[in-house]
Symmetry: C2
Subunit: 354 residues, 2 copies
């Protein structure tokens, strides 16, 4: 251990001394409060710039009698959508780390199948005192309504998992969907010899966001760019139960006998895997999204070849940390934070950090 004093820390005390004012006046300038003459303000600001003053966050948070309040607006987890467990865990991990720094999170969960629940939770969180908002803009119109209100109230917000390009967000943290689909196409065609037929399967209720369209565009662009001769057939399944999936797939395989690859544009790949297992068609290669338990089972069995994944846990963690960064440390944060496009196989899955 060595003394700290070799590094002479220049703080408010030093600024006050140089400006020949009190610490309280320096504090007023630092926080843009009133009660300082223009002349004094300028003098202090000059000194701040000159010595490159950076506040001691430790002392600042300690002295502040205020806790910083963040609202978290995300889908609640359900059998249908265990995907959201991971971001929530990341959010909670960040919350724990920031707990002793006086950061408090309040959670507002909505139902993925019910846009009214989203609106209800949005109204609810707006009634509270709020310093920041972390949200998944699952429902487009409803999200725009909420963020417009936040803009008026000057509440900064961060998006995870999905984006709204029009809004004044602090940051988007999530996948680059187009490129992700492109990677999917590469994996599905790697080393394949004959140009088999490919099924692109979208399984989602209509009310959810349209991420899958961008993914499919990326997927198709790969075939076009490489001038591959595969035939691509898209099937949209608007009910998420296994029976509906089976019905649609049976029909598709009947109409297209040479299918050797299936690309599922979201995490519901396990229902396709269930179907293919029953059908006993091991030559059909299957790729889908997300490191869910049910998907990993089929990965281990070799039914699913690859899962593509975008670090949902880290999305949640970084969402909170980005807000904290913006509110406490420094308002310059990266606006587009794309997650890596991770490739998960049965061989590397045990070390995957979701």
């Amino acid at each position: 251990m060595m003394g700290k004093d070799d590094k002479v820390y220049l703080g408010v005390k030093e600024i006050a001394k140089r400006a020949k004012v009190s610490i309280a006046t320096v504090d007023r300038v630092l926080h843009n409060r009133t009660g300082v003459s223009e002349k004094t303000r300028k003098k202090i600001n000059d000194i701040i710039a000159e010595i490159d003053y950076r506040p001691n966050i430790l002392a600042s948070r300690l002295a502040s009698r205020k806790a910083i309040q963040m609202a978290v607006l995300v889908p609640h987890t359900s059998i249908d959508t265990s995907f959201w467990e991971a971001p929530l865990q990341g959010i909670q991990r960040a919350a724990k780390e920031l707990e002793s720094y006086g950061i408090r999170l309040v959670y507002y969960f909505f139902d993925l199948n019910d846009r009214h629940s989203f609106t209800a939770q949005a109204s609810k969180l707006l009634t509270t005192e709020l310093d920041g908002l972390l949200m998944s803009p699952t429902f487009v119109d409803e999200s725009i309504a909420l963020t417009s209100r936040c803009d008026e109230l000057k509440i900064p917000y961060v998006f995870i998992d999905a984006d709204l390009s029009t809004s004044q967000k602090i940051s988007y943290i999530g996948p680059h969907l187009f490129q992700s689909g492109y990677v999917g196409a590469k994996l599905l065609t790697y080393r394949a010899v004959s140009p088999f037929t490919v099924l692109v399967v979208n399984i989602s209720k209509e009310i959810e966001n349209n991420n899958h369209l961008t993914i499919e565009a990326g997927f198709r662009s790969y075939f076009k760019e490489k001038e591959l001769q595969n035939r691509l057939v898209t099937i949209d399944i608007r009910d998420t139960d296994n029976l509906s999936v089976a019905r649609h797939l049976t029909e598709a395989l009947h109409n297209h006998p040479h299918v050797e690859g299936v690309f599922v544009t979201n995490s519901r790949v396990s229902s396709v895997a269930t179907f293919l297992t029953k059908l006993n068609r091991p030559e059909i290669r299957l790729i889908g999204y997300d490191f869910l338990q049910e998907n990993c089972q089929f990965l281990d069995q070799g039914v699913i070849d690859f899962l593509i994944c975008h670090k949902p846990e880290e999305q949640g963690y970084r969402g909170v940390m980005t807000l904290y960064q913006y509110l406490v440390v420094d308002t310059t944060v990266e606006k587009m934070q794309y997650m890596p496009i991770d490739i998960v196989t049965m061989e590397n899955r045990s070390f995957y950090q979701n």
Copy 2:
């Protein structure tokens, strides 16, 4: 913003009040210092356990006049080994975050080709006041000598990138080498039809650590487990220049005409790629390690199919953070922190977080 006071924080003051002693005495107990009777000590410890006291790190670091000193012992970067740029960046990122918390890092760089430089730096860092050590145990015997000394001096240490299973380390942060080789085998054989011959290429000067042996074991175990009929040929190249690599590979390809896959057990895959490019053998699949600039070039050209990567930047970051965690927050840290086995292709490489 809401008042903090709704959450009644129970600190040393409250403990002192309940135990009917002063704050100073509580502090002595908390830090296992002398000068407290056994009776009082027990009473205080009971209260600490009862209220689940967790010290306020903010206040603790602020009040401490001591900076925490960490030494960092890693190879310096060179043309030969640009690999170490990434861990260093992660280390520096962590250092920046922890700067205002009174954490100071001192760097000791050694030469990968010179074990004496390692010993010299090790002796040097031992002469300083030290609270913790982050190191890469590149040279086995020399590292054991250093860590034994650390054990005596009660200096905790963390390993990154390579491990020494015998030592009393706080934590190892790095790849699971065996499984990583296993993943390499999967990728090299995925969808391959005929059982071609595979070259396993180790390129390293003898003085470096033996990570490649474990990787190769994992690689071979895949073929054995799946009962694949490929012929595996290992070639060891003890000089890292392109000429030596070309000479050895020419000979190997002459002796084994049906080579269609090459697996390089470390980051020197680009020199093999250089050779294969000149040879014009595009049917030979090439897989190797690490997200280096020269490797990515060949990835983009399609000469290298996959790079396997273990997040070196994060290894550095987590190395520092793990030490911080141990020294400041809580002494229970994860002992084996395996990095994910990332698969990098030309399609997903632009979003890879090294």
